[in-house]
Amino acid sequence: MTTPEDQDDRAQDDLLRAVEATLFAAEEPMTAEAISTHLGGAEVREALRELAAHYEGRGVELVERGRRWHFQTAPDLAHLLRREREEVRRLSRAATEVLAIIAYHEPVSRAEIESIRGVQTAKGTLDVLMEAGWVRAAGRREVPGRPVIYATTPDFLAHFGLKSRKELPGIDELRAAGLLDPVDDEMVAMELAGDQQSEASDEETPPETAD
């Protein structure tokens, strides 16, 4: 046998479910009045309080902000919504060259880098080096146009196991190690072409003017 209290409970239960579903499906936070109108004029404040209590401490909570109610992910779980995934990526050949030039010649402007490399350097290449934390903008050169000049960072030294830039092998050492021997032009062209494909942002174009 159902008592009047049971029926009241069920009615309250139905209202609770209705409010829950309405707020869940809503595209925007809703005021108690809007929910009430939506549910044919039922009094929903008590149901909202009960619901909020039910969700307390769960992964999702019902909150009131400026008289509007909505569900949201529990604040302490906010980090779950933005997961960071680290990807290890090898520096492209173009970026390695630019990094080497900055390391040997710092501080240098982009125009100087291009002049040394003999090819234009895409903006993305420097961005990558700055993202890696190895290169920083080190002011501007006091010449017409005031170009930004770049230098390496302490992180650069740490990553490459150098105490200072002086530890980089000099030109004579490079020559002795055979690293200055003319390389096969076609190979270089091919590798540079490879750079272009691997990094869309790192496109190289023949330099227009080198200064």
């Binding site: 579903a21 869940f24 499906a25 809503a26 595209e27 925007e28 909505h70 569900f71 949201q72 992910t73 779950l80 919504l81 933005r82 997961r83 960071e84 995934r85 680290e86 990807e87 290890v88 990526r89 090898r90 520096l91 050949r93 970026a95 390695t96 060259e97 990094l99 080497a100 030039i101 390391a103 040997y104 040394i116 490399r117 003999g118 990558v128 993202e131 890696a132 190895w134 990553h159 490459f160 196991g161 150098l162 980089l168 092998p169 030109i171 490079l174 190690a177 690293l179 200055l180 021997d181 003319p182 390389v183 032009d185 270089v188």
Partner: protein
């Protein structure tokens, strides 16, 4: 009045979901004809006729069904309704089936008409089953209609972060290669065996002087020259031939494109 029966295409794309066969609203024959365009092909019409027998599809009378179908088609033709070809093809096939069913058993072909009737029945059952299944599917609690997903999900984001890798050797090697690539380079051109235009001109005109008939350009080349000299001699001799023709000292002929080029002296 002409009503063309076009299966499928005649139905509005946004037709009612809980669709009822046109026959369901057609209580008398005339009304039925007006609804003919609602059928999707002869099988659809047959299924509707079969349903009118008000028995399980497994127990329908195929002969009665055939008669009903044929009489509809006949009456449609009498009313000059334009019937789509597949309705007529089905009519012809059913007429054949009927006559086969009525023939004495010993004159029957394989497959037997009973077998064919059974297959037709199976087809109707199949279509009927799918039609019911579709209705039951559409009547379910459907996402976006009866049930809803969260209206404003925060969304999950995966931020990619790059960790760049490069080693000491790659760095130093890259610098060495930049230096090597951009170092000033002196180009030396080696001496090569060539035949100059002057010597070719002299050679060709003197050889032309002693011959009266046509000679191919190839014959003017030095016979024992190496490949490189021969190539140079061919180019120079060709230009020389053109020059001699321009001066009116030689005649040039070529029978086809890329064919041998022939020369002949013009006697003054």
């Amino acid at each position: 009045m002409t009503v063309e029966i076009i299966p499928d295409a005649a139905l509005p794309l946004d037709g009612e979901e809980e669709w009822e066969g046109p026959g369901a609203v057609a209580t008398d024959d005339n009304a039925l004809y007006l609804e003919l365009e609602g059928w999707e092909g002869p099988l659809d019409l047959l299924l509707d006729l079969a349903r009118r027998q008000k028995v399980d599809l497994r127990r329908i009378s195929i002969l009665a069904l055939v008669d009903q179908y044929l009489s509809y088609i006949e009456r449609a033709e009498a009313l000059r309704l334009e019937l789509a070809a597949d309705y007529l093809v089905m009519a012809a096939w059913l007429a054949y089936l009927k006559s086969a069913l009525l023939l004495p058993k010993d004159e029957q072909e394989d497959p037997s008409p009973e077998e064919l009737a059974l297959r037709l029945q199976l087809r109707l059952q199949r279509l009927g089953a799918m039609r019911e299944a579709a209705a039951r599917l559409m009547a379910r609690d459907r996402l976006g209609r009866e049930v809803f997903r969260r209206g404003a999900p925060e969304g999950l984001r995966v931020d990619r972060k790059n960790r760049w890798q490069c080693d000491w050797f790659a760095l130093v090697q890259a610098y060495g290669q930049v230096k090597a690539r951009t170092a000033p380079v002196v180009h030396m051109v080696r001496e090569r065996a060539v035949m100059t235009l002057e010597s070719a001109l002299q050679r060709v005109s003197s050889m032309l002087g002693v011959r009266l008939d046509w000679m191919e350009l190839q014959e003017f080349l030095p016979p024992h020259a190496d490949v490189q000299l021969r190539r140079s001699a061919l180019a120079s001799s060709f230009v020389a031939a053109l020059e001699l023709a321009r001066l009116g000292k030689a005649e040039l002929a070529q029978d086809e494109i890329f064919g041998p080029l022939r020369l002949k002296a013009i006697k003054q």
